[in-house]
Symmetry: C2
Subunit: 322 residues, 2 copies
């Protein structure tokens, strides 16, 4: 029998589905991706995953039957025991989908399904920025602000699998309206939509770098463009990131006071602006957090970049091996 | 050998030290108290505890030597492993006091020292409102707003024993200045000082019930007086409690989103106003918390009243028996 040395991790995002072939050492040795647009149910997703796995396996010289398993991170609440996806934040038509069972039937190997923020932290814990840590908090910055908790060396999911929603902690009760209906959630203050809205405000007032960049790009206004303007010295763009850092620091200061973690790992697409928002973040966090807890925590950027979710998805398959 | 059936629980508050003789079933069968004013170090505290224990034991017909042990809840951060009190919030002169060792030397029995909010939750978990619960949050309302976390059926203390500081989660970044230096911490918004300040504002505008009660009482303005005015129909007093409830609900909504607990137990002196602040609390909590997590949690008042800390202190001694 061939020893099963590879696992496939699947990161199911609102825009793309990314797959990676992951070695037992947690290294990604091949990737595939396809668009997640137009998924009205699990059928096309499973077709796409199945096809991409065949391609990945072929490139590694193995057959899909030789894979150790497939792990999937989904952007929404997941019942991990049953492998059921309750709903997906930015993908319609998914309601209580028994994704693990459907995948196992098609792929004929062990499958695991988890919330994507949990897998980000699991990946960073396994081979990234939270290695060896027992109390850690993971934060993913993007369209949504996701969160995950590692408590006593294990993912903590809460009473009904809904724990870790750092993005819906309130940081400003009179702040921006959140997609969840409340006001001033961390996600409402620092999610991509909020950053872009701050950018639009700056564009209206701004005659400098951001405006010039935006015109030249001829694309939509994005956090990446605002970072570029900050890098070129635009004070309005820098102020946006200072504000983002301040809201993050306030929210994470509350998390530090509540959980006294040893490490906070920040990832997701918007983490590319780390250098711009980190100073404001750490200043606000230290002002909010109690001395003992503040001095116990290190806030770091994730080390695995875009691959954290893929690695975490593979790790979640191995956890089932135990 | 006489079977040791009683334990002494000590609740070390900023105003009084309360002691109780606790049966193995968690029932308090006798209490003593003495003032905690003028404690500049542990000497007088230990003298007072020693004397009160003798009185308690005598009344139960046992000698102090027959006690199973003595547990102490301290209002500040405690290193539970070493039994060291780092500092006390409202009692000066306590810095890194090895209280457990000092008590054991004097009392010649097993002693335990814990943070008082942790003991509140431990008491309510053992024989009160959180029995059988694995994920619970405890909140004590008073001069300070204390917090404690039960995670997977165990007290969670965090990386350096500083977890559970619900009172220093931010609920309003432009709110009242907190004793910790930050702004708009939950404690700054709903601690006794904030409630009294809101009461003073109401007194200035108010020509009704609160003003009449305050004049008649000839004492200081207290949360209890504001509750009485609310009970008599004073709209300004009722508005104060509605505001207190709203801030509590916002803060606890964040806690629910982060931890997805099954139960939140609220105690402390200000919990006497439960009926006045609960409606605002639960409305704000449901607006802030995500649906799955909100429907999983019950917010209840502690069942042990003033005795929760005493019972919890006794339970902490038994935990050491295992």
């Amino acid at each position: 029998m061939v020893r099963r040395k590879w696992t496939v991790g699947v990161d199911f995002g609102g825009t793309n589905v990314k797959l990676g072939l992951v070695t037992d050492a947690g290294r990604v040795v091949g990737t595939e991706r396809f668009s997640s647009k137009g998924f009205n149910g699990p059928g096309r997703f499973i077709d796409g995953v199945s096809l991409a796995i065949e391609t990945l396996a072929r490139s590694a010289g193995v057959t899909p039957a030789q894979l150790r398993g497939v792990g999937v991170g989904a952007p929404g609440p997941v019942d991990v025991e049953d492998g059921v996806v309750h709903s997906l934040v930015n993908v319609p038509g998914w309601r209580r989908v028994p994704l693990r069972r459907l995948l196992e039937r098609r792929l004929r190997c062990r499958c695991a399904v988890e919330n994507d923020a949990n897998l980000f932290l699991l990946g960073e814990w396994h081979v990234g920025a939270a290695q060896g840590i027992r109390q850690a908090v993971g934060v993913t910055l993007g369209t949504g602000v996701g969160g995950a908790l590692l408590i006593n060396g294990e993912l903590y999911r809460g009473t009904s699998g809904a724990a870790g929603e750092i993005g819906h902690m309130v940081v400003h009760p009179y702040g921006r309206r959140c997609g969840c209906g409340a006001r001033g959630c961390l996600e409402a203050q620092v999610g991509t939509a909020a950053i872009v809205e701050m950018g639009r405000g700056a564009l209206r007032r701004n005659t400098g770098g951001l405006r010039a960049l935006f015109r030249k790009s001829q694309g939509p206004l994005t956090p990446a463009l605002i970072s570029e303007a900050a890098a070129r010295g635009d004070p309005a763009a820098r102020q946006i990131w200072a504000d983002v850092g301040r809201w993050l620091g306030l929210g994470l200061g509350s998390v530090v006071n509540l959980l006294n973690p040893e490490r906070i790992v920040i990832g997701g697409g918007v983490a590319h602006a780390w250098g711009w928002f980190y100073p404001g973040l750490i200043r606000a966090l230290r002002a909010q957090a109690q001395r003992v807890a503040a001095s116990a925590v290190r806030v770091v950027r994730g080390r695995l970049g875009e691959e954290a979710g893929i690695v975490g998805a593979a790790v979640s398959v191995w956890s089932g091996d135990r």
